[in-house]
């Protein structure tokens, strides 16, 4: 319970910081809406739903990346990450708290983006929504670990996409499959398996990421 209390305190801190600074969520919202508007005009009217849903996943992936780029910005300022490292009994709580906060930001961006997608392109079914939720878990789990790794680098804005996008390819495959495939449950299962494996790996390895 005390571990979860640490996670709760850390996630609440990130949500409070976002409410105060408002520098991540508005950017994610603006980005995902802009990208949908651009795709609306780029995609020929006779294009299939398959193409449109593929572009939705491109939008979700890069919106998540935008949020992850800012994930440890508050910790970089005034070296607050050092304070957290010294104060938390289990450093994986920092990862879990941060991943939860990023998940909330991404889910809020999608709450706007998915209806907008339905308005511009085509209806969204249960398979797509399940795929988005499962993909969000994986994106946040892996992305938060990689964002913490990249944040120690001077070229963090360049490094994060380079290490994140290859690892996110299976999520896109699973997400697109859950949205448009003939066996969405199989792809949802694949996403759930990815989430479980990578969340476990990220949770177990976060301590080493923070070590110098």
């Amino acid at each position: 319970m005390t571990y979860l209390a640490d996670v709760g305190a850390l996630a609440r801190k990130d949500l409070t910081l976002e409410l105060r600074a408002r520098d991540t969520l508005p950017a994610m919202l603006l980005f995902v809406l802009s990208i949908l508007v651009v795709f609306h005009f780029v995609l020929p009217p006779e294009s299939s739903d398959l193409a449109a849903k593929g572009l939705l996943w491109v939008g979700i992936l890069f919106t998540a990346l935008l949020g992850l780029t800012r994930a440890f910005a508050a910790e970089r300022e005034d070296d607050a990450i050092d304070g957290l490292i010294l104060a938390t009994r289990d450093r994986s709580a920092i990862w879990l708290g941060k991943a939860l906060a990023v998940f909330v930001f991404l889910a809020l961006a999608e709450l706007v983006a998915l209806p907008a997608f339905a308005l511009f392109f085509t209806d969204i079914g249960g398979g797509t929504i399940a795929g988005v939720v499962l993909a969000d878990v994986g994106l946040c789990a892996v992305g938060t670990l990689l964002a913490a790794m990249a944040t120690a680098s001077r070229a963090r804005e360049l490094l994060l996409p380079l290490i994140f996008l290859p690892l996110a390819i299976p999520i896109v495959v699973g997400g697109v499959g859950a949205s448009v495939g003939s066996h969405p449950a199989t792809y949802a299962g694949f996403l759930a398996l990815y989430d479980a494996i990578f969340a476990l790996l990220a949770w177990a390895s976060f301590d080493y990421v923070l070590t110098e």
Binding site: T2, D6, K13, T16, E77, D82, G83, E212
Partner: protein, 194 residues
Amino acid sequence: MIRARGLEKRYGDRRILRGVEFDLTRGGLLVVTGPNGSGKTTLLRLCVGLATPTAGELAVEVERTRVGFLAHEPLLYRQLTALENLDLYGRLYRIPERRERIGMLLERFGLWDERHTRAASYSRGMLQRLALCRTLLHEPDLLVLDEPFSSLDDEGAALLDRELAERRELAALVVATHDPDRVLPLATAKLALG
């Protein structure tokens, strides 16, 4: 509490520390002096576990969460108020009577009236006071302070003097400073780097 033998730290080809040796026990205060770039901050980061030695032996017999570290930067969140910052750390350190302890420290360091003000609005001296509150919040067994008197006015410095004298009985202290005369009366050992 801390035992260092032949301690060495390199960043790439650059050697920051070489052959550092000292012992520190509870009730001891080690003053670390040296010019800019002599490795004072690096040594302190090694002591608190935020960096690892390249060579040599460093044994710190204190649990990580029982260390209080005052760094160059305040290790705080500027968009949170003083109260919110200390409450976060109080929760993470699992301080039993968190609110009372936070209130007492804010009162002692003259920040009580500004407790609902965001740290971003604080002056450098107030930030240093708040950082000291964070450092002392959990009554650490090992207190590691990097230039603790910097940015403090006379009143703040006097407060810190009193705090160091009190804490010295209960903890081990490592203080890096350009103004060693201030802490030398309390010191049990001195280490000159560079």
